[in-house]
């Protein structure tokens, strides 16, 4: 799987179609062991302190056509934000060229440049001009900005008295009304409360609709897959994959899953060091596995996939009418679903020796998150636990092909009937 996949971008016939052209961009950072910032040391040591060079970008090339929304994804430290800062002209590349056509607005942080002592109104003007707007242009947009921020009654209050939510709202309102040709966005979709996030997402769709060129760095992969037309997966400073957003996100996700499984795949079998286990032990669940449709043990499942919970049992004596159960919890302990074999109507009169019990979920209805599994075996009345593994098994669900929110998918269809 370590092959570097690269889908060549189609050559662009006309140059004026391009908004961004990055060619072989290299960027290094010097990691100082003990960064000295005093002249004394410079004179005494005759050199700056020791440093290691860390290459954040190692020859990144890509083109962005006008009107395209591009997502930059990758692990922390893969160079996404560095690339964005180079596009924003904040950092300069060590080597390579970046050509940009049009007015750029970078939203690297909301409310950058707000001065706490100044009022909301004064800050709108200051911030607007930092982002390149003239006074007249801000005059025109002022009402829209205030309306969007929902801060009309506080607009003449110094922003130091704002709550952090208000601060962010005003910042976003200014930044997105700058009317740039190219918008660079770093993780701002992750700030604010739920309703603000939705609002900013709406605004982003609107800008996309207006055919703005957008480059966005995000860890919210499902949003990237939804909003972006194209995506670039950066891996340790290199382009690992470039092309259709959904394909790139899928490739990245499966790589992350694979790595995660490699890291933590085997601590599943003996029962991890989490949760509790109790019971009288006449019959024990000697091994608990979560399997995929091919019977392979896995920890990561895609929403809608087949998932089998397999409990191997060992009965030390004959057990009458045992009941096997399982519960799925969220990480915070909320019970998502729980069931047992008695409810299902499958209760053997007697069980002895070894064997295994499967609970098969044909289409996993859970959405992307981490979940914890409880399994147990008890007597028919549920009064006596033979063996109970409380919240001992962790598994993860990814929802790459599903943008629903929440913890489970309520199956349904949409229909509009016009009367």
């Amino acid at each position: 799987m370590e092959v570097s996949e690269e889908i060549k971008q189609e050559p662009v016939e006309e140059k004026e179609e391009l908004a961004i052209k990055a060619k072989d961009v290299w960027k290094d950072f010097r990691l100082f062991q003990d960064k000295n910032q005093s002249l004394k040391e410079v004179f005494l040591k005759r050199k700056r302190s020791n440093f290691e060079t860390f290459w954040a970008l190692k020859g990144v090339s890509f083109n962005v056509k006008k009107g395209v929304t591009l997502g930059l994804i990758g692990d922390n430290g893969s160079g996404k934000s560095t690339m964005l800062k180079i596009l924003a002209n904040i950092l300069r590349p060590q080597k390579g060229d970046v050509e940009i056509e049009g007015k750029v607005s970078a939203l690297l942080e909301l409310g950058t440049g707000f001065h706490p002592e100044l009022t909301g109104r004064e800050n709108v003007y200051l911030n607007g001009s930092i982002l390149g707007l003239s006074r007249k242009e801000i005059d025109k947009k002022f009402d829209t900005i205030v309306e969007f921020s929902e801060l009309a009654q506080f607009i003449d209050t110094p922003v130091k008295n704002y709550s952090s939510g208000m601060y962010v709202r005003l910042g976003f309102a200014v930044s997105t009304n700058v009317d740039p040709d190219i918008l660079l966005i770093d993780e701002i979709l992750a700030v604010g409360d739920e309703s603000f996030q939705r609002k900013s997402l709406d605004k982003l769709y609107q800008l996309k609709h207006e055919k703005k060129t957008i480059v966005l760095v995000s860890h919210a992969l499902s949003s990237v897959a939804d909003i972006c037309d194209e995506a670039i997966w950066l891996d340790r400073g290199k382009v690992r994959k470039i092309g259709d957003a959904r394909q790139v996100v899928d490739a990245y996700m499966s790589d992350v899953n694979r790595q995660e499984e490699e890291r933590s795949g085997l601590d599943q079998s003996g029962g991890a060091d989490i949760g509790n286990r109790w019971g009288s032990g006449e019959i024990v669940l000697s091994k608990v596995q979560i399997l995929d449709s091919e019977g392979k043990e896995r920890q990561i499942f895609e929403s809608g996939e087949k998932m089998i919970v397999r409990m191997a049992y060992e009965a030390r004596k004959e057990i009458e009418r045992p009941v096997f159960g399982m519960i799925i919890h969220t990480r915070s302990g909320l019970v998502c679903s729980g069931t047992n074999s008695r409810i299902f109507g499958m209760v053997p009169e007697k069980l002895d020796g070894r064997g295994f019990v499967d609970y098969t979920i044909d289409e996993l209805p859970l959405l992307g998150d981490e979940y914890v599994l409880t399994v147990g075996v008890h007597d028919f009345a549920g009064m006596h636990d033979f063996d109970f593994h409380d919240q001992k098994y962790v598994f993860r669900v990814t929802a790459m092909k599903n943008s629903d929110i929440g913890i489970f998918k309520a199956p349904g269809v949409w229909q509009i009937t016009e009367e």
Binding site: F29, Q37, S38, L39, K40, V42, K85, A88, N89, I90, L91, R92, V104, A106, L108, E109, T112, G113, H115, E117, L118, E122, Y125, L126, S129, I130, L131, G132, S134, R135, P158
Partner: protein, 265 residues
Amino acid sequence: MISHLKDVFIYKELLINLAVKELKVKYKNSVLGFFWSLINPIFTMLIFTIVFSMIFKFAEIEYFPIFLLAGLLPWNFFNATVMGGTESIISNSSLVKKVYFPRELLPLSISLANLVNFFLELLVFLAFIGVIGIFSPQYLGVFKFLPLLLLLLPILYLFSVGFSFFISSINVYYRDVQHIMGIFMMALFYMSPIIYPISLIPEKYSGIYYINPLASIILSFKNTLYWMEAPQLNWIAYSFLIAIIFFIAGYAIFLRLEPDFAEEL
């Protein structure tokens, strides 16, 4: 450098907004607000007048306050521009790291804000002249010399801004600079003809004395605003040359260091 100056022109609106912010923030939450710009030089002048005309006597100087203010005005501008500029990049690091705009706007905005202060102080000065003119009408002649400021002010401005460019960009790399500057500025203050007349400098040292370019600039202000004599043309030319050199050199260094500011901060 020319293209960078063009960039600054494009961003003139931001430059003005930053300067306005500087002035607003300075006096926000203070009861007297803007009046501090007037009160400060008045009290500085009072203190120096008491110390230097009553304790150390430069007897031959009449109307010491005017004599003093004539030198204090350009000095205050220089001092505030350089000291404010020194910290301007660092104190706006959140901006520098997150948004692109020509970085030179930061020290420039400080200089503009101080230019406003300069004119306010000039008003105080002229009001003073007006009062003194009641008793010694010959001092009203200063008003005739005011147009000369159109020549002197650009020299002072270029010199101060050039110096501020240099210091502010170095300060990003070595924070010691701002501490050194405190001492340096104090030395420079006494090495310039602000509180004493130039005649006190022994003839044999005057060559060394004028190595300090600020001395000749401040002297020109004094000659104009106190002695009421047109400064000699060769002095003006010399000062102008020095100012241009400082400006170009300071700006060149600034532009050279500027692209890595975001990384160093």
